[in-house]
């Protein structure tokens, strides 16, 4: 009983390691892709919109005053 339990646990660990590798592989594949331009453009637009709404020297105030 205890031997069988040990065997199943080892099998389980191997299978789970295999699943873990597949899971991580799909994730890392996307993770390593360059950031699409649409997101850099989006952030630049948000930045620009915010800059137009606030004072131009807002950066320093934000960095020092947000703590």
């Amino acid at each position: 009983m205890s031997e069988r339990k040990t065997a199943e646990t080892e099998v389980d660990q191997d299978v789970q390691a295999h699943i873990g590798r597949q899971l991580r592989a799909g994730y890392v594949d996307i993770l390593n892709q360059p950031v699409p331009d649409r997101f850099l453009e989006l952030l630049a637009e948000l930045d620009k919109a915010q800059g137009a709404a606030e004072r131009p020297d807002d950066d320093d105030i934000r960095q020092n005053g947000s703590r």
């Binding site: 069988r4 065997a7 199943e8 080892e10 099998v11 191997d14 299978v15 789970q16 390691a17 295999h18 699943i19 873990g20 597949q22 899971l23 991580r24 592989a25 799909g26 994730y27 890392v28 996307i30 993770l31 390593n32 892709q33 950031v35 699409p36 649409r38 997101f39 850099l40 989006l42 952030l43 948000l46 930045d47 934000r62 960095q63 947000s66 703590r67």
Partner: protein, 183 residues
């Protein structure tokens, strides 16, 4: 000074875009849809940057936002489609092969077939490598619930994929033991 000065939150935001995309693609199974989810997440994050506490885990904060955007998207789709099965069926492009060979395409299909909350938990722990405590915060549930979801997800994947143990180098006795519990 040994440590570099902390990056302003809005600059740090950019560095997490690859993680957000990886999470969104893993959740939704579709790159186009994932990028729409990431876009909505970035806009929401930008507007709420003042509520982010500097020095805390921004990746976890962003994942929480993305997760909520994703859930809203699922609910919206359900209302539009009026067919809850159809929402997830569309992301399963290829059914898993039953010959015991588990390649990445099979794996993705099996992953897409898991219940939402199990897939989310498995991705947060197994792919994004958050702690159980962080994953519980992101998923807004108890730590024990995350553990249970991850276990159920792993067991379901092992069964669905009908893993051929010879491919992953198991001893025959172990393979026999596996045959009784998986397959």
């Amino acid at each position: 000074m040994t440590a570099a000065p902390p990056r302003p939150p809005r600059d740090e935001l950019v560095t997490h875009i690859p993680s957000l995309r990886a999470f969104a693609v893993s959740l939704s199974g579709q790159v186009d849809r994932a990028d729409d989810l990431v876009q909505e997440t970035l806009v929401k994050a930008w507007r709420n940057l003042s509520s982010f506490t500097e020095g805390t885990n921004m990746r976890a904060w962003l994942f929480t936002i993305l997760r909520n955007v994703y859930i809203s998207d699922i609910r919206r789709r359900r209302r539009e489609v009026q067919d809850t099965d159809g929402v997830f069926a569309e992301s399963v492009s290829v059914p898993p092969q039953q010959n015991g060979h588990m390649d990445l395409a099979d794996f993705k299909a099996a992953l897409a077939d898991l219940p939402e909350e199990q897939r989310e938990a498995l991705i947060l722990i197994g792919a994004a490598e958050f702690s159980y405590e962080e994953a519980a915060e992101i998923s807004n549930c108890a730590v024990g619930t995350v553990k249970s979801r991850v276990n159920r997800a792993r067991n379901a994947l092992a069964k669905k994929l009908n893993i051929d143990t010879s491919e992953i180098g198991l001893e025959p006795t172990l393979r026999a033991a596996l045959g009784s519990s998986v397959g």
